[in-house]
Symmetry: C2
Subunit: 161 residues, 2 copies
DNA sequence: CCCCTGACTTTGCTTTGCCTAAGTCAGCTC
DNA sequence: GAGCTGACTTAGGCAAAGCAAAGTCAGGGG
């Protein structure tokens, strides 16, 4: 086994967790639907209107999100109305919130309106602003360029003859 | 001004930082190219091969990433070879690393190969594993469901007549 | 000065995503 | 039991994104 790190050409990206995640949420409307779900939207029409997509697209994406286990469909009933279904985040879906926070944070910094961002996120318990940060298991804050890539157990190597 | 938080219907999402970020990096191949750049890939052919996209697509996306200021094109020369251009992350691009880490982390948890992930990220200084976490300005760790949404200065309201 | 190589570009085609407009359907309200 | 409403589905079409295969181009090596 030669120098693994220098031989990145041989690494096959067929088991990349980023790519696998993007297989599930890798398009704009899916992520925006999850944004809405995380902000508390639950009803079909609201999803379509707030994301700004047509009903056919909303129906297809929501169905896929339920199939993938990121949203759960639950019956509910407003007083004096018939029973309907609402869409709520599952644990699996809620764990994508750091992705949404990181995306929002980048947009706030690099692509915001001159007036500033439309919303910001406060810690429910203390009211302070929330950010996505990188931290190592030893408790250190980590810079984007302070990362080392290490081969993991699922690494596949190309057949280098 | 009535209850802003209850009146989310009136919020116009035309100034959403998540949507603005997705306008720049909202497709699979762009994010995978940034993954490669963050892992140290610099040459055109390597980008195309490692991301698994065709050359025309790689050329178009890389050009757009340079135009958007996430990658910088720089001349370099390997000994005994002609001068070429390489693509390296700018500060603007590097600040998307938390997004990539959060995506990777979700994939490790919810979509990994039974054998485990192909790579993991270590803190360069201490070797411990790195994660994306949510933290408030007061220093508390924040759960995905511990977030409050607050209207910001750039919030646009719909004309509710 | 001719060839090789890395870095693209061009062409032609398929797939995916999204749109509008119109239709369906189920259960309350009246 | 007729109509309304929310939640979709169906049909038809356009545009963006992707692929494969082949062509272009510039500069250093031989």
């Amino acid at each position: 086994m030669t120098d693994l790190l220098a031989n990145r050409d041989a690494w096959l990206m067929t088991n990349c967790s980023i790519a696998r995640t993007l297989d599930v949420v890798g398009n704009r409307s899916t992520l925006l639907l999850l944004r809405e779900a995380s902000l508390g939207t639950r009803r079909f029409d609201d999803f379509a209107a707030r994301v700004g997509i047509s009903e056919p697209v909303a129906a297809a994406r929501l169905k896929q999100l339920v199939a993938d286990g990121l949203l759960e469909r639950r019956p509910y009933q407003e007083p004096g109305k018939r029973t309907r279904d609402e869409y709520v985040l599952t644990e699996k879906g809620a764990q994508l919130v750091p992705v949404l926070v990181a995306l929002r944070q980048w947009g706030d910094t690099w692509a915001a309106d001159p007036a500033g961002p439309s919303v910001w996120l406060a810690h429910h318990d203390c009211g302070a602003e929330v950010h996505a940060v990188l931290r190592c298991a030893a408790g250190h804050d980590v810079d984007p360029d302070g990362l080392d890539v290490r081969p993991g157990p699922g690494l596949l190597l190309a057949d280098t003859e």
